[in-house]
Symmetry: C2
């Protein structure tokens, strides 16, 4: 098995300081060596997303399932999750081994 991704699609509560949450997440990830890469973004086109109110996507990449498991169970992560969940109205979480059909050139 190759890389494993941890994907979170989020809808923040009204009035939440989203920037602060994003900074907290960036800080968390910077201290966690088992996180291979981290990127995020906000919706720019999709009507689906706008309809259901999801606005943010977060993608963390790990070298393998063991690194993902050690991240998910790490105290820094579990502490952060409390703050993060308090800021969210709704979220979807997906963990999946990445099957690369077309690698970047």
């Amino acid at each position: 098995m190759g890389e494993v991704k941890h994907l979170v699609v989020a809808k923040f509560k009204e009035g939440v300081a989203v920037e602060e949450t994003l900074q907290g997440m960036a800080q968390l990830v910077s201290t966690m060596d088992m996180v291979k890469s981290f990127e995020w973004g906000t919706e720019m086109l999709g009507e689906e997303m706008l309809r259901q109110g999801f606005t943010h996507v977060f993608i963390l990449t790990f070298n393998n399932g063991e690194d993902l498991a050690s991240y998910l169970t790490h105290p820094s992560h579990t502490n952060f999750i409390g703050t993060f969940q308090a800021a969210l109205e709704n979220a979807l979480v997906f963990d999946f081994p990445s099957v690369v059909i077309k690698p970047p050139a």
Copy 2:
């Protein structure tokens, strides 16, 4: 603006030939030069996803928003979308400029 991602989270209908749909998608992407990379996966952990029944995640990466737009409006894509949507019970679609907080080492 850097890379732009097109993310689809899908729940297939019961009895659908998922493998055929995946092959069709791989074939489509292989013919579309503006798609920089393509990966997908199936859920392995998340209770959220299992609860809501989403099982597959597809991530296409483009160099910029223009390449994404040319993909979305390409006849090969719009043709494929008909087949794809017929196989789906539910889907979320997200298009977002990727903000890289932690690049791969």
